[in-house]
């Protein structure tokens, strides 16, 4: 909402308060003033000139040579490029020495050999936005009414010395979509009174009922419809002051009748529509829902197909307006219009919102109906419009109002105690202060022993409950005066849940070993949605996606991590180590929320470790990725419950992928990206993992228990086992641990060999076994006995032989 500072003064006394100060006060009290614009934008020394002569410029087709009286001394010669400049016009002249918006200084000049002493200005050159400049002057200079006094300040006549406050209104404050509404707000802030427009309406002796009748078939959409007939109007421009106010508010002036309806819309917040009575095609108005497939050509010359969701004003047979949104072209007021039917109605918000949505048509009128208008002013606005048409369009107001009114006005009464106000706010506001605030708001109230019974005016549709009153009091009392305290209730210690705490440990661990935390999008495309997923379900698709790339919810974090790696690689960042903890979304059924599961995933590519000048450089490989995970499992106390199993998974290298099992249940995988996928993502050798972090963090783990530090020496024996190459180390290790029994404390692999020195199809794995008894020093014989069992076990189970 744009509020003219000068116009506002008609309704509330602003003496002693500048536009800027007013803006600050309004902002502090609840409505954000987004800007205060000085319309002149720094222009000065622009006066009314009278074009005494105009002739063709001798050397330029498109220029005119004008002799202009600017009210000081001799008339001056000005060269003008506007096509519409003509002898006898009153125009805006920027004198030599004048300044125009954009700090453009006007100097004496020679244009194609002819002297020019100033400039005849268009409205655009004076800083008015093109979209509000009246159409006849859109491509040329602005022509003032002939009575404009020569030499007078043109900026003042154009109201460009005004300042405009732009209000950023929250949806609850639709009452401020009108000058009168803003006046009430400002009056409440300043503690001043509101002066409403005086309506001087002279009706003739005829009866409106002889002209027209109204029937409303959709009273729920249209509880109040009122109209008047104004006859003998003469269409012409509206007075300059009205045009300038409309332009300042962002509305383009058209003609006196249309301008008056727009003026009332701004003044009262009541949208009006003026029909050409003679073009209505009947003597009746019927308000009803449109029929499916019915059409209307609206004022913007667009043919619109309607449905039962839309409300139309009809002449009994066909629509003449899309109610509350836009009039029909068939009944539009034109230059030859003489009788006008003014409609002032209250349309309810849902039906208007539907029309706006379906037709993509948002107008000043529809915005107000959507947000809700004050029906208590509907008829007053109608009277005011009729009076103005009589005054500025020479019309004659036909006696009476046609009206269908099914509105049941109900006063909103709110009762609240002073204690309640102070208890909610934490303040010590007095009874008198509250009374004062309510008075300034012009709310009617009775106060009895600290209890306020308040009748809310109909213009404040946002106020219905105690809390609304508390807010009114608080904002006008001033939030700066609110004390700062802390809650006094029962205090519980704040803390993370065990899950949240562990998750933080996991993050820190992964970062400490060199991974960066990534956050990627949850929405992806259909193809990527299920790629790499540990569990898959029917893809969950958005009803109205913005793009195919972001249309489906992900079931794995890996694809977007790969995209991130690829993004980096494309920017010469070749070494990438990222992890992400985030949700995946697994559909259950259409009516239930999906199963949202948290996952931990990572991507590793490029060099893992380099100390270049010492000649060390280690690329990421499977065991780097696995090592990171091993550390993670150890951190969570799960290392002995985790198992890696050679696995084949889609999109992963068939020989370099492992499923990860916790207590025998698959909870994730780690593996090398399949070369085909690697190429799709434009990556080099890349490793990925994804884990069900919920399973990891929710696994029951014993608390740490101290065990005695070894007091006796341990004995270490090494064995190198030659086995068939398909036998995996993990199986051998398990067998060794089992056979080693109590005394075997540690098994580690220190060498793996495959090559010339072994028969084809064989490999050797060397284990180091450490034996220890916490109670005593072991003898060689005891260890040998156990060790023999170990060897025997692997010989029997795997056909292993000791390597010589």
């Amino acid at each position: 909402m744009f509020v003219s500072y000068k116009w506002l003064q008609e309704y509330v006394d602003l003496t002693g308060i500048t536009a800027k100060e007013l803006a600050d006060r309004i902002t502090k009290s609840g409505i954000e003033v987004e800007s205060v614009e000085v319309l002149s934008k720094g222009a000065k020394d622009v006066v009314i000139g009278h074009v005494l002569e105009r002739e063709q410029h001798p050397n330029a087709d498109k220029l005119s040579k004008c002799l202009v009286d600017i009210g000081e001394g001799e008339p001056v010669q000005i060269i003008c490029g506007a096509p519409n400049v003509a002898k006898g016009q009153k125009v805006a002249v920027a004198k030599v020495g004048a300044v125009l918006p954009g700090n453009l200084k006007i100097k004496r000049a020679k244009l194609r050999g002819e002297e020019s002493n100033g400039m005849i200005c268009s409205l655009q050159e004076l800083g008015v936005e093109s979209k509000v400049v009246p159409k006849p002057y859109a491509d040329g200079i602005f022509v003032f009414p002939s009575d404009a006094p020569v030499g007078a300040d043109a900026l003042e006549l154009l109201n460009l010395d005004d300042e405009v406050l732009e209000l950023g209104l929250t949806p609850n404050r639709a009452d401020c979509l009108s000058m009168i509404g803003v006046a009430y707000e400002v009056a409440a802030i300043l503690g001043r009174s509101v002066k409403l427009p005086a309506i001087e309406l002279h009706e003739n002796s005829e009866s409106v009922h002889d002209y027209i009748s109204v029937r409303v078939d959709a009273p729920e959409d249209n509880p109040l419809y009122a109209g008047r007939i104004v006859k003998n109007v003469k269409i012409g421009p509206s007075p300059l002051w009205m045009q300038t106010r409309l332009m300042a508010a962002g509305i383009r002036p058209h003609n006196n009748v249309v301008d008056i309806t727009n003026y009332i819309l701004l003044e009262y917040g009541q949208p009006l529509h003026a029909f050409d009575y003679d073009r209505l095609g009947s003597n009746e108005i019927v308000v009803r829902r449109a029929k499916n497939g019915e059409t209307i050509v609206t004022l913007d010359d667009t043919k619109r197909t309607l449905t039962e969701d839309h409300l139309v004003i009809t002449n009994g047979s066909e629509p003449v307006a899309l109610a509350g949104v836009m009039g029909g072209a068939n009944s539009e007021v034109q230059d030859d219009t003489t009788t006008v039917f003014i409609e002032s109605a209250y349309f309810t918000s849902p039906v208007i919102r539907q029309a706006v949505k379906d037709h993509g048509l948002r107008s000043e009128a529809s915005t107000r109906f959507e947000k809700g208008i004050d029906p208590a002013r509907t008829k007053e606005a109608l009277d005011r419009a009729a009076a103005l048409m009589a005054e500025y369009a020479g019309g004659e107001v036909v006696g009476g109002v046609v009206e269908v009114n099914t509105l049941q006005p109900k006063d909103v009464v709110v009762t609240i105690t002073l204690d309640r106000i102070n208890n909610v706010l934490g303040t010590a506001i007095t009874k008198e202060e509250v009374a004062n605030i309510l008075t300034n708001l012009q709310f009617m109230f009775i106060e009895d022993n600290g209890t306020f019974t308040i009748t809310v005016p109909s213009r404040r549709r946002d106020i219905a409950i105690e809390e609304d009153i508390i807010e009114e009091v608080a904002r006008l009392y001033g939030y700066d005066n609110l004390p700062a305290t802390l809650p006094v209730g029962e205090a519980n210690p704040g803390k993370l849940t065990p899950y949240q705490a562990k998750r933080r440990h996991v993050r820190r661990y992964l970062e400490d070993v060199g991974l960066f935390q990534a956050i990627t999008y949850s929405l992806t495309n259909e193809e990527k949605a299920t790629m790499f997923a540990l569990e898959t379900a029917e893809p969950i698709r958005l009803a109205l996606p913005m793009s195919e790339e972001r249309s489906v919810l992900r079931q794995s974090l890996v694809p977007h991590l790969l995209e991130a790696a690829s993004y980096n690689r494309a920017r010469q960042v070749e070494n990438v180590a990222l992890y992400e903890i985030g949700s995946v979304y697994l559909a259950t059924n259409e009516h239930e929320l999906p199963n949202e599961k948290e996952r931990l995933a990572g991507v590793l590519t490029g060099v893992w470790h380099a100390h270049v000048w010492q000649g060390e450089k280690k690329a990421v490989d499977f065991y780097v990725a696995k090592g990171i995970l091993d550390g993670l499992f150890a951190l969570l106390g799960l290392e002995n419950r985790i198992e890696y199993k050679q696995a084949k998974r889609e999109h992963l290298h068939p020989g370099r992928t492992a499923d990860i099992l916790l207590d025998g249940k698959t909870i994730g995988f780690v593996g090398q990206l399949h070369p085909i996928v690697q190429k799709e993502f434009d990556l080099k050798e890349t490793y990925v993992f994804e884990l069900d972090i919920e399973a990891l963090l929710k696994a029951e783990v014993d608390d740490i228990r101290y065990t005695a530090i070894p007091r006796f020496p341990s004995i270490t024996r090494d064995i190198a086992l030659v086995v068939d190459e398909h036998i995996v180390a993990g199986d051998l290790e398990q067998a060794i641990i089992k056979a080693g029994g109590e005394l075997l404390k540690d098994v580690s692999i220190f060498d793996v060999y495959k090559g010339d020195r072994l028969p084809e199809g064989k490999k050797s794995i060397a284990f180091s076994l450490r034996y220890y008894d916490p109670e005593r020093t072991l003898t060689d014989e005891e260890v040998t006995a156990v060790h023999e069992q170990v060897i025997k076990a692997v010989e029997q189970q795997f056909g292993a032989t000791l390597r010589g």
């Binding site: 969950i540 109205l544 972001r550 000048w613």
Partner: protein
């Protein structure tokens, strides 16, 4: 004989002095103090002396021997030291060469901001509540006083999956769910961080996916002044002890009264700069007293209980705090961006 001894001593001391390494010194030791050395020889010749002279001469021999011995030891220490120094000198390295790099990753800047905020509120007795990102219309809107058809819930602004299920547009449904779980009994004191989604085109200032942190306190006698005190505490811990906050009236369907909360500019201290666009204040939060409809819908008696709620955007805070100019950086995961948040 005495002269002979003195001469030997002098000779020996000179040779010790001349010895340049441990080998040479050892040779001197053997030559003078060895079994076949001249001093032993002198001792042997003592038999020819008179009994009176013998003890005198014996003492003299010992004196000489000791003097040589001491000189040898002193020289030995000196040479050993020199030897070590020589060895160490050879071992010198260039300490300016780079050390072995230790890999180190770090938090995403949003996590950094979120954890900091979480910890601040944990310190004030809050717990952290989490909830689903795919949410029921009921919890995302209806339970928050946004009934169907409410203008503030344009279908166009939300990612719906079905008519009843959508991607949450704020973390407020977690508040609704938490309150519901409390079955009408306070206190509730939670912080809800999480991802949210809106139907926006991604550009420098918009992201269809972003994060939010909301807070909620519901109890008997929770006052709006408590909200002010809490947020001032937060602002000071987050942005510096000198910070102040101000409330500006606003509108949110789920709070009444509602306010926007500005923090005095941490860049200029309130004098006005480009960070605060010259106003001295930066808008950081939306807040208010929980709307009685919201309390009632979650099963709380709004006559007995009051509450406050607030919400903020970690992206905005991170952008302000670190001077980040484009919200898309948070989701591109460019390592050149992520790596910048690697220290305390």
């Amino acid at each position: 004989m005495k002269e002979r001894l003195q001469q030997l001593q002098q000779e020996a001391l000179e040779k010790i002095e001349q010895a340049n390494d441990l080998k040479a010194l050892s040779d001197v030791r053997v030559a003078y103090l060895g079994k076949k050395g001249p001093i032993t020889e002198v001792l042997r010749g003592m038999g020819s002396l008179s009994p009176e002279e013998r003890p005198i001469m014996g003492a003299l021999v010992n004196e000489v021997r000791e003097a040589i011995q001491m000189a040898l030891e002193a020289k030995q220490v000196k040479l050993e030291q020199e030897e070590v120094e020589k060895k160490l000198a050879k071992e010198a390295i260039d300490v300016t060469l780079p050390g072995r790099p230790i890999r180190r990753g770090n938090h995403h800047p949003l996590t950094r901001v979120i954890e900091e905020i979480e910890d601040l509120f944990i310190g004030m007795g809050y717990t952290i509540a989490e909830g689903p990102e795919v949410e029921k219309d009921y919890y995302n809107f209806e339970a928050l006083n946004l009934p169907k058809g409410h203008p503030a819930r344009d279908m166009q602004d939300s990612f719906y999956i079905t008519e009843e299920i959508l991607l949450r547009t704020h973390t407020s449904p977690v508040q609704a769910r938490t309150m519901e779980k409390h079955q009408g009994r306070g206190p509730v004191k939670i912080i809800c961080p999480g991802k949210v989604y809106r139907r926006d085109n991604d550009d420098a200032t918009h992201s269809h996916q972003f994060t939010q942190i909301e807070g909620l306190v519901v109890d008997e006698n929770v006052r709006m002044s408590d909200l002010k005190g809490t947020l001032r505490e937060f602002a000071r811990k987050m942005f510096g002890e000198d910070r102040d906050i101000r409330f500006r009236p606003s509108f949110f369907p789920f709070t009444e009264p509602s306010v926007e909360v500005d923090v005095s500019c941490f860049n200029c201290g309130g004098h006005g700069c480009n960070v605060c666009k010259g106003t001295g204040w930066i808008e950081i939060l939306g807040a208010g007293m929980v709307h009685p409809n919201v309390l009632e819908m979650a099963g709380f008696d709004s006559k007995k209980y009051t509450g406050f709620a607030f919400g903020m955007g970690p992206e905005r805070i991170a952008m302000l705090k670190y001077g980040i100019d484009d919200i898309r950086h948070f989701y591109q995961n460019d390592l050149r961006f992520l790596q910048q948040f690697d220290r305390v």
